[in-house]
């Protein structure tokens, strides 16, 4: 029972924050809404038994990425965005097409795919740090190493792009 209530609360928080992200005019409001989405998604991961990923979500997204966003918004002094003319196609067809996308995905999930099991909090805890680590360092060792090189390249790229030219 308690997990149903938790799911409903945090799903509502996630959807409201998502709408707020799209509708707010100031980037800092959008950034705070994004933080709401990420926090509630971390709780949903916990309900699905992914403990390690819930904590990673909070640390990596809620901590590092959001600090980076807020830092850049403050640094660039980004103000309210000016509404400019959108293309007529996006104005007329954008919202109906998006609703079609959601309806199609919902139909696919409810009717086409085989019925899913029910989520019972605590009945399956597969995502502890022990299990993730074991799989990460045996089966997925090569992708893990490749992705560490990717991170290294990203750091170098960020430094090269953002440095100040010294003449």
């Amino acid at each position: 029972m308690i997990d149903t209530i938790l799911f409903i609360i945090f799903a509502i928080v996630a959807i409201v924050s998502g709408f707020n992200l799209v509708l707010q005019k100031h980037p800092i409001s959008s950034a705070l809404s994004l933080m709401g989405v990420m926090g509630s998604l971390a709780v949903l991961y916990l309900l699905l038994g992914a403990e390690f990923l819930a904590m990673t979500q909070m640390i990596v997204y809620g901590g590092a990425v959001m600090v980076l966003f807020v830092f850049v918004i403050m640094l660039l002094n980004a103000g309210t965005e000016k509404g400019s003319a959108k293309s007529w196609f996006a104005q007329i067809a954008g919202l109906p097409l998006l609703l079609c996308l959601v309806a199609l995905l919902g139909f696919l999930i409810r009717s086409v795919l085989p019925p899913f099991r029910h989520v019972e909090f605590g009945s399956w805890v597969g995502g502890t740090a022990e299990h993730i680590g074991q799989l990460l360092f045996t089966t997925y060792l090569l992708p893990f190493e490749v992705i560490s090189i990717l991170i290294l390249i990203a750091i170098l790229g960020a430094v090269v792009l953002a440095r100040k030219e010294i003449d």
Binding site: T4, F7, A11, A14, I15, G18, F19, L21, V22, P27, S30, A31, L34, V37, M38, L41, L44, Y45, L48, A50, L53, T56, Y61, A64, V65, L68, F69, V72, L76, A78, S84, K86, A90, G94, L98, L101, V102, L105, G106, I109, R110, L113, F116, R117, H118, V119, W124, G126, G127, I132, L135, Y140, P143, I147, L150, I151, A154, A158, L161, A162
Partner: protein, 102 residues
């Protein structure tokens, strides 16, 4: 109804993804477009973890972990690119940066 069906999680993921697409298409500030991309990545992560619960295997969680790492790298490089755009052009409006447009 005692427990939540897993399809609700997947529908939540679809709704969040659609919101991300809406933000990506409608917003005019580079920073907000970038945040919408992060929202879409998060929605996909949620469905990876839901399918991981359905199959009772943690491979899906590993993929989700990789998506998180790639998103962090992308955020670092993307925000550096935004800094460079602002330094060179003095604007954050996405439709004023159109020199590669036909």
């Amino acid at each position: 109804m005692e427990h939540v069906p897993l399809s609700w999680y997947l529908i939540l993921s679809a709704v969040l993804f659609a919101l991300g697409v809406a933000g990506f298409i409608y917003r005019k500030s580079v920073l907000t477009v970038f945040m919408s991309i992060e929202l879409m990545l998060n929605a996909v992560n949620l469905s990876f973890i839901s399918f991981s619960y359905e199959l009772q295997r943690i491979d899906g969680q590993i993929y989700s972990f990789f998506v998180m790492v790639v998103a962090a790298a992308e955020a670092a490089v993307g925000l550096a690119i935004i800094l460079t755009i602002f330094k060179n052009r003095g604007t954050l409006q996405i439709d004023e940066v159109d020199s590669m447009k036909l």
